[in-house]
Amino acid sequence: MTYKRDPELIRKVLGKKVQFILGDMACVYGGLLAGCSFFGGYPITPASEVTEGMARRLPRVKGTYMQMEDEIGSIAAVIGAAWGGAKSMTATSGPGFSLMMENYGFAAMTETPCVIVNIQRTGPSTGQPTLGAQGDMMQAKWGTHGDFEAIALAPSTVQECMDFTIEAFNLAEKYRNPVCVMADGEIGHLRERVVIPDEKDLKIINRVPATIDKKKFIPFTNSQTRNSKVPDFPTFGTGYHTYVTGLTHNEKGFPATDKQPDHEKLVKRITTKITDDLDKLTNVEKLFLDDAKTVFVTYGATARPAESAMEMARAKGKKVGMLRLKLVWPFPFKEIQKLASKVDEIIVPEMNLGQIVHPVREYVEGQCKVVSAPKIGGEMHLPHELYKYLEGK
């Protein structure tokens, strides 16, 4: 039984249009709406509710849910399912995300569309399993060995958990790359109102299947049917006889491991296919940036107390604004550069000891002051704690 997305059945299984649900569950809803038909997962706090939600709902929409033996097996099965023709996803948290790193790189190297939801918790190691953090933001970008381009979204609300999971599938399908939804324990375990979009308002992107003559098809090069660096997808079982390997490969997909130009050509294509589209990908929310002199650059849960601190400051006439990164990777550096040229100070609150503050500093290039506002230990910043950074301004 190969899966066919059935909007009516999906909506029947999801239930009412307006619901009060967990962030984790909203990721499940997003996946199902996007047409996810394979979920491979392994229990881990605080992401287990995603796995449980899928276990209950995926078979009811005629998709396949599997609890794998570990997170390595989960991401492996997810990638395999993608080549079998499924839209596939997994969900995990820090320790599981660490285990997935090798195959995360395999997905990038083999241009496999798939989605990883990471409900981040504190680390290193086992850390505080039930408490949220934003400690894996750099891991999403640099955690696997070698050069590749990460795509990662960071939801700040439960609604965004759903919307960004749908968006993650769309980006994965469009760019044939793994895409991470970097939520955090706070948002994952938060209950909020969500509105399930109507079918007509839903934007669903599907990978472009290989259709040209089988003898002329070249699997790992620019598309032969469109103006794109993303090749058309030769789903297994469609007769294209594609060889897919994590080794450096030539355009035919055959190993080409001993010559420098082969590697450079491949890796530059699979990275620039994403970075070429940075302007299209950039997804930020701008609050009071017109006259702001001090700006919070935020993402995920931290955006919420930062917004409150900004409002407190505005009420006292301080010129404070906020730039929220909905898409963190690829890094929207042009937005940071624009901001740096017109503000005095950028404050980066994060639930880690400073991760995204680094690319911010890199692109500010000394044009304004950059301050890291870290908080770790599984507690969110309180608005007044962030407000302190604004005092005297």
């Binding site: 299984v13 078979p59 993608a82 080549w83 297994f236 006889h241 060889y243 390997t245 190993p255």
Partner: protein, 291 residues
């Protein structure tokens, strides 16, 4: 099929010759195993458009590259987990996994265990050469006691892993072991494995003269093949001797590696059960059950 089939004809039909030359050394047994697989595929008349070859890392894991079909050459030890996903997405595909002893039972042991336990409908062809050949001859989990490896320079002191006994205990539907010195039985076993619903694993004892043989006085391929003859025994013969033989006869065979079909059963597979689950839920849904 009245047409005379020769290895040459099979090669033309199934090999991806663009990928030649192969990486294999003189005396390597991987080509023999691939040949067995081709014969089995030919006799089953398997649709190569609907067959996917999956592998991990190591010499044996390069085999899918030489086959003119879809192939997924994955990460070390994970082939079976990747294959599980492919099968889940499209249960109509035949999935054949080529793996080695290190890939399958060392780094990939956990995936092997759980795929066998779930009875995932794939066929694993595990080529056991007692060594990590691609990386130069390090100690493998299957290496005999006392054997020499680059990482066991004074002789192996670890007990070797019997993968067939493991798979049997896990309830895999089809479990067999042969060596490359067996001419026909392996073809029959691969055929049976592919046809079998549920998990099947066929292990092959196969020489690596370069990385294993040279260090263990088996560098000469004839000696290597003779080692298999001297050190393997058919399961039926083993059982007979153990039941009716003299103490002396028993002593002589007790450490030999048993070959043959270890298990051939019909236990329901994961996807069979899953399909039933989906059907059950659809019926419930129609009845308006909200749970």
């Amino acid at each position: 099929m009245s047409e005379v089939r020769t290895a040459d004809k099979l090669n033309k039909k199934y090999l991806r010759e663009d990928m030649w030359p192969t990486i294999f050394c003189n005396g390597c047994g991987h080509g023999v195993v691939l040949d067995y697989a081709f014969w089995a595929i030919e006799e089953l008349d398997l649709d190569m458009d609907k067959t996917v070859f999956v592998s991990g890392i190591g010499c044996s894991s390069r085999l899918p590259g030489y086959i003119n079909a879809d192939g997924l050459h994955t990460t070390h030890g994970r082939a079976i987990a990747f294959a599980t996903g492919i099968k889940a997405a499209n249960p109509d595909l035949n999935i054949i996994i080529f793996t080695g002893d290190g890939d399958c039972s060392g780094i990939g042991g956990n995936h092997l265990i759980h795929a066998a336990r779930r009875n995932i409908d794939v066929t694993v062809i595990m080529i056991n050469n007692f060594t990590y050949g691609m990386t130069g001859g390090q100690l493998a989990p299957t290496a005999p006691l006392g054997s020499i490896a680059t990482t066991a320079p004074y002789g192996n002191i670890e007990h070797p892993f019997d993968i067939c006994e493991l798979a049997k205990a896990l309830g895999a539907n089809y479990v067999a072991r042969w060596s490359v010195t067996h001419p026909y039985q392996p073809i029959k076993s691969i055929k049976e494995g592919i046809q079998k619903k549920g998990f099947s694993i066929i292990e092959f004892l196969s020489p690596c003269p370069t990385a294993y043989g040279r260090r263990n006085k088996l560098g000469d391929i004839k000696k290597h093949w003779k080692w298999y003859d001297d050190n393997t025994i058919l399961i039926e013969d083993y059982n007979k001797i153990m039941k009716y033989g003299t103490d002396e006869e028993k002593e002589k065979i007790k450490n030999k590696i048993q070959c043959g079909v270890f298990q051939d059963i019909e236990k329901s597979g994961f996807f069979e059960q899953y399909e039933k689950l989906v059907e059950r839920l659809q019926e419930k849904q129609v009845k308006g059950d909200k749970k």
